[in-house]
Amino acid sequence: MIQRLIENATQLFLLLALAPLVTGVIRTLKARLQTRRGPGILQPYRDLRKLFGKGMVIPETASWIFTATPWVVFFSTILAGLMIPMVAAKAPLGLFGGVLAVIYLLGLGRFFLALSGLDTGSSFGGLGSSREMTISALAEPAMMLAIFTVAIGAGSTGLTEIAGAAIGQTWRFLAPAQMFAFAALALVLIAETGRIPVDNPDTHLELTMIHEAMILEYSGPYLALVEWAASIKQLVLMTLLINCFWPIGLQPTWFGFGALQGIGWLLAKLLLLCCAIVLLETVNAKMRLFRVPELLAVAFTLGSLALVSTFLF
């Protein structure tokens, strides 16, 4: 019981504390790669502190959906975050749901975010909601194929089992099925977290933004909650990607020194993934919205290839 509580509390702390850091690291690395100085890796924390201290303006046209949404998004993302293996293969709330529940909980948050985009009556909100729902819907089949490939390999949709099955097979990620599935899921991750070339998290240009357009009317603490939830979602998906496909350093269970080692490995792998994302964001330009389906079709094809190769190899 105590052990369970410690696991949950640790993972909760990691989610809350690491998420802004990941965003900060990506921003700083990207700035450096573009020979800018950047705001420093701690800037997201300062942003959050500032936003939580501010008052807020709630649109006259908005209903209770607008005020409920940040909480729904925040809590559903946290709950999804507690269901994934971070430090050890054992997911603290693995009993509450596996990978399907994680995806659907993130879907619940997105559903409400899209509602709140339309709730204000501003056309930007509607624009963002419409695009977000479209892109996420198209990303879904590719994601599911990749996940099925992994789940079939592990014999379960439980993430504890999936990560547990991967432990000890350090070089398994070189298998064709794993590589295809990894590529498919990586493309989906880019679409789901709203990164270049699908969406640009830094833009506030009306015609190109997706996620930012949805949350345009949020301010103060609610904006902080939504932003925080977005970075937690990014962390959750990144962790899912690295721990399912590249479980090096992952401990089977939470125990003393092993847990610390697990956290160390997690940080190292996250940093590596951040570098990859930064590189990808810097060398690519944002795509036109109607080119995104092609990218997701590529992801779907990769997912199908992954499945076929589980069959062949």
Binding site: L95, A101, S130, L159
Partner: protein, 680 residues
């Protein structure tokens, strides 16, 4: 005891039918009598069928008339009882809702007739689910179709309504025709019309005959269920009916098709050949995907919901298809898992689709339009309706922790498990079907963002919407019952799953709930232990508990504190003078990206005409029209209709119009039949 309860339910319904018809001159009394009878009959039916379901026993009732060939035999076995429970819960909520809903129609419409037909529809449904004789079944089936027809065309002064009713009637009878042939083939093999003589009979027939009978039943019941490509009547007929009827139609009447398939495929057939399950799975995927894709393009609120019925029937059939495949492969435990997924979704869909149609009914009654683009801002005028509709929308989108999530999760697990059951390349169809289910679910979520946000959120888009009034207490109570149902079936999944034990025991000979419920009844697992995938776990109750605790501990106090720091302000309107409803995103705009992405399917056509007075830069009026292609109507049914009309024209010659000639025809037919009978 069960016999008495069930029969008294039927009698209450039928008495209510006659009484409300007799009282048609007193609309207020007729309404109360009709709705009370519907409610009382449903509650009696609920008690009787729940008792059967929980005890797992079978009650046979023989009505004391008829002859040995055409017995009026009723059998309440667990499968029948399950569909009866679904019927009873939905019908009770709809009856409650109708007390208020029909009130608006008093004096304008014949409520006596309405009470008559609805109290005829309900017992006919109960008998369709319980009849155990092919003849009796078809009689109940036909009464159901006719009662539905009259309820659909209740607002018959509109041309469109009558047309939709006719289409329903024609398609329904085409389906009944197929069923009749199917039953006759079975009857000629068994020598009896009794369902008990059909048990496992179909599988003992020669392969060709077996396949033909399967197709007859699949398409015969498929018409009623709204299976693609036999679905064309559904999006026409469901929306034009009064909304309480739409709720019954989409919630339970189309489920008679599902019941029929379950009865035939799992009772009359033994383990079927592999292609049958594969076909059902494929048709399920097609129905699910096409249903949701066409729903996305609708901005008629009720038509949108009708298309979603086709989608959900598809999801149910995916579970069915998987169950049939596992049965062919001898995997009884997996078949049980897939069957539970399908039946669970059947119940769930009845509850949330009933809820959504009732919500749509309240909205339509308040705004006098079905067009979403003319609604908006209703969450402030109709808060209870909005909350209920939102719960229904979350449930139908398959989002946790409500009931749609549980049954979709079970369907995923069944499909995933299927991968390990065979070594051939065909096993790839399971994950492909699973990924298309994911696409369907995600598109449904997009569609319900639209279906909730456009009518209920932001600014009202018309005068009517701005002045809408919350619906009456009875209507709210009816919706609340179903909303609570969505929550209960979601959070209480682990308590609900054991209900299926008696059904799977009856149809597949296994009890699955012990393997499905784990962690002291807290979590659901798919660990059937036979496929490659042992399945993960979910705990919807746990998730809900997390949300509740987090909400109470953090959200509530912080939200209250932040409220003091918040001010209300105008929305950013790009510096234009004030935001109006014209600035809002419309339903059409919301689904525009998908219309462009799937343009190969929709083949959208649009027409823009601008009228100018001075210069082309300042149009005085713009006319915009956009429509998408309806491939099944245009490519499949159009040519078919032309052929039928041409054939009918050619047959005109034998129609002389003289009664003597017709008598001669009857005589000749009789002689021929007698000769045929003597020879055979």
């Amino acid at each position: 005891m069960i016999t008495e309860l069930f029969l008294s339910g039927i009698i209450v319904w039928l008495t209510g039918a006659v009484a409300s018809l007799a009282l048609w001159r007193h609309p207020a009394v007729a309404r109360r009598v009709g709705c009370s009878a519907a409610l009382a009959g449903s509650l009696l039916d609920l008690v009787a069928s729940a008792a059967v379901l929980f005890s797992g026993s079978t009650t046979a009732i023989g009505l004391p008339f008829g002859n040995p060939a055409f017995t009026w035999a009723i059998r309440l076995d667990p499968l029948s009882a399950y569909f009866n429970v679904t019927l009873a819960v939905l019908a009770a909520a709809v009856a409650l809702y109708s007390f208020g809903y029909l009130r608006e129609m008093e004096g304008r419409r014949n409520l006596g007739a309405f009470g008559f037909f609805i109290n005829l529809l309900l017992p006919s449904l109960a008998l369709v689910f319980t009849a155990s004789n092919a003849f009796f079944f078809l009689v109940a089936w036909e009464v159901m179709a006719l009662a539905s027809f009259f309820l659909i065309i209740f607002e018959h002064e509109k041309e469109k309504t009558r047309k939709a009713g006719m289409l329903f009637l024609i398609m329904s009878h085409a389906g009944t025709g197929l069923l009749l042939i199917g039953f006759l083939v079975l009857a000629s093999a068994s020598g009896s019309l009794d369902f008990s003589s059909f048990h496992l009979l179909a599988s003992s027939m020669p392969p060709l005959e077996q396949g033909a009978v399967f197709l007859l039943f699949l398409f015969g019941f498929g018409v009623k269920a709204g299976l693609v490509p036999l679905h064309i009547w559904l999006p026409e007929a469901h929306p034009v009916a009064p909304s309480n009827v739409s709720a019954l139609m989409s919630g339970i009447v189309i489920k008679t098709g599902i019941y029929g398939m379950a009865r035939v495929f799992f009772d009359f057939y033994g383990p079927p050949p592999l292609w049958m399950g594969t076909l059902v799975l494929g048709l399920g995927v097609a129905s699910a995907l096409l249903g949701v894709l066409y729903a996305l393009m609708e901005h008629d609120l009720k038509r949108l919901l009708a298309w979603h019925s086709i989608e959900n029937i598809g999801i149910i059939l995916m579970g069915f298809g998987a169950a049939l495949i596992f049965r062919s492969l001898g995997q009884a435990n997996l078949a049980a898992l897939a069957l539970i997924a399908a039946l669970y979704h059947t119940f769930n869909h009845a509850i949330f689709k009933g809820l959504l149609f009732l919500g749509a009914g309240s909205v339509v009654q308040a705004t006098h339009t079905r067009n979403m683009e003319k609604m908006g801002g209703l969450i402030r005028r109709m808060p209870v309706t909005a909350l209920c509709f939102l719960l229904g929308a979350v449930a139908i989108s398959g989002l946790p922790p409500l009931n749609g999530f549980v049954s979709e999760w079970l369907t995923y697990q069944a499909l995933l498990a299927g991968f390990g059951t065979t070594q051939s390349l065909t096993r790839l169809m399971f994950p492909i079907a699973g990924s298309l289910l994911a696409l369907t679910a995600a598109l449904a979520a997009a569609c319900f963002v639209k279906a909730f946000a456009i009518p209920f959120l932001a600014l009202p888009r018309s005068e009517e919407a701005a002045e809408a009034r919350e619906c009456s207490l009875a209507m709210r109570a009816g919706m609340a019952v179903l909303a609570v149902g969505c929550i209960a079936l979601g959070l209480g999944a682990t308590w609900f799953v054991p209900v299926f034990d008696s059904i799977t025991q009856q149809t597949l000979g296994v009890r699955a709930s012990a393997a499905l419920v784990t962690a002291h009844g807290l979590a659901l697992t798919a660990g059937t232990g036979h496929g490659t995938v042992q399945g993960g776990t979910i705990s919807t109750a746990g998730m809900a508990l997390f949300f509740l605790l987090a909400g109470a501990a953090f959200a509530l106090p912080l939200a209250l504190r932040w409220r003091r720091r918040s001010v209300r302000g105008p929305v950013w309107d790009c510096g234009l003078p004030g935001l109006t409803a014209d600035n809002e995103y419309t339903a059409t705009a919301f689904s525009k990206p998908l219309r462009m992405i799937f343009s190969a399917l929709y083949r959208p056509r649009r027409e823009i005409q601008a009228e100018y007075e001075v210069s082309p830069h300042y149009p005085s009026a713009i006319h915009f029209e956009s429509e998408i292609e309806r491939p099944f109507e245009q490519r499949l049914y159009g040519p078919l209709r032309e052929r039928i009309m041409a054939a009918a024209n050619r047959m005109k010659g034998i129609q002389a119009g003289s009664i003597n000639v017709y008598l001669a025809y009857i005589f000749i037919t009789l002689i021929l039949l007698l000769l045929f009978g003597v020879r055979g």
